[in-house]
């Protein structure tokens, strides 16, 4: 019996597939910390962890693995995540990058799957564009608390698996030019976004399943996944808009728009031949 024997239904080669996979995490707060913890339990072998921030006391209501001592010491969130991973996969290859994701592009390009656990729609959109141009599946999770008045709130969220060539966040209506414009106008005066541990946990668990379903051949072959979470009712349903656009070619990210046009191999790789 191995540590992973209870998940052998994932396939006879699943331990190797998961162990050889490289998964990227952008954002290691409330959502990202859950994701890292679960994927370490599952047996992922290679991690790219990206978050510029240290933990603070207000994160401890939801950041899995973060302690009050970490908050006092201002421990980087990436190191808290790495500590969680090392407790389960001590030999894992972990790249802990305490920086904005735009400064971790080469490391992220090496990922098989990237999770986005960030609040800003603009960042989600930029991350998706990056993933599309490098043919990387992108899994976005996000939650929102909306005031309904009279002291009532709506807790909602989404999990989206965005695959190259398939409908994107804009096709699904999550990111639109008008929403991005509204977000830009609110920039700087939004205050703190309300966040709670249980909704992040629900969304991260669903997203973990979608990632494992990509890396091992146990799940069905639906490429586009859009799940909508209603935290007041405790339900998750298929997003109706996904059914409306299923099978359509994404007009925002043409499948051939890939790579870095100015890419050059290092001279030592090309046998001394000069690059023009």
């Amino acid at each position: 019996m191995s540590r992973l024997s209870r998940q052998s239904f994932l396939g006879p080669a699943s331990d190797e597939l998961l162990g050889r996979a490289t998964v990227g995490f952008v954002g290691l707060g409330g959502g990202g910390s859950h994701l890292v913890q679960q994927l370490a339990h599952v047996g992922i072998g290679n991690y790219v962890l990206v978050d510029p921030q240290p933990i603070d006391e207000t994160n401890t209501n939801r950041l899995v693995g973060g302690t009050l001592d970490d908050a006092k010491a201002e421990t980087p969130k990436v190191l808290i995540a790495e500590r969680l991973i090392r407790g389960l996969e001590p030999d894992a290859k972990v790249q802990s990058l305490q920086r904005v994701w735009g400064d971790a592009l080469a490391e992220l390009r090496g990922c098989d799957v990237i999770f986005g656990a960030v609040d800003a729609l603009g960042t989600k959109s930029e991350l998706e564009a990056f993933c599309r141009s490098n043919l990387i599946p992108f899994i976005d999770i996000g939650m929102t608390v909306t005031a309904l008045g009279s002291g009532r709130f709506l807790l909602s969220g989404q999990v989206i698996r965005s695959m190259p060539g398939q409908p994107c966040l804009e096709c699904l209506g999550l990111v639109t030019p008008s929403k991005l414009g509204d977000e830009a106008r609110r920039y700087g005066d939004a205050g703190e976004n309300p966040q709670v541990v249980w909704s992040n946990g629900v969304l991260a668990s669903i997203a973990t399943g979608l990632c494992v379903g990509l890396l091992t051949p146990w799940a069905d072959e639906d490429e586009l996944i859009y799940l909508v979470y209603d935290g007041n009712r405790g339900t998750i349903v298929l997003g109706q808009v996904a059914e409306e656009v299923r099978g359509e070619i994404c007009p925002h990210y043409p499948i051939g728009a890939v790579g870095q046009p100015r890419f050059k191999l290092p001279a030592k790789e090309i046998g001394g031949e000069e690059c023009r």
């Binding site: 072959e221 490429e223 790579g259 100015r262 046998g271």
Partner: protein
Amino acid sequence: MKFHLKLPRRLFRDIHVDLHRRHRFAAERVGFLRAAFADGGDQALILPSEYRSVADEDYVDNPAAGASIGREAIRKALEWADTWHGGLFHVHAHSGRGVPGFSGIDIAGNQRLIPTFFNVAPGRPHGAIILSDDAATAAIWPGKQAVPRLVSKVTIVGAPLASWWPR
């Protein structure tokens, strides 16, 4: 540096459909793929952008080979590569499952063909790709005079992701 070839599943299927069309006399078909590259840290990503068939009339009747293409096919491919910032890859298919291998005929043909790609499109890698029913492999020429190398990883990008590690 390692090379990692990624093929979107839809493109993989489309290429298969094209390569399995019957030809009047050629036993098999070939095609060309334009691919971009990206810096993936310790690996270079090979990211296909567009596939193009070889026209029926550009095959040469050669019973000694499964598929022989004439100068016009190569001229069109080179012209296509000349207007592209990335690499050009010769593509054909072997039947069977799992990671395919280059035959002696493949290797000899590639040694003649691939270096000519650098005449019109120097300064970027070029190569050859073989598809099997469910996987692929590729040989990369980093430069015209460089020794070709096998990619270290191939991923068919879809749900599920299918990753292969050619040896």
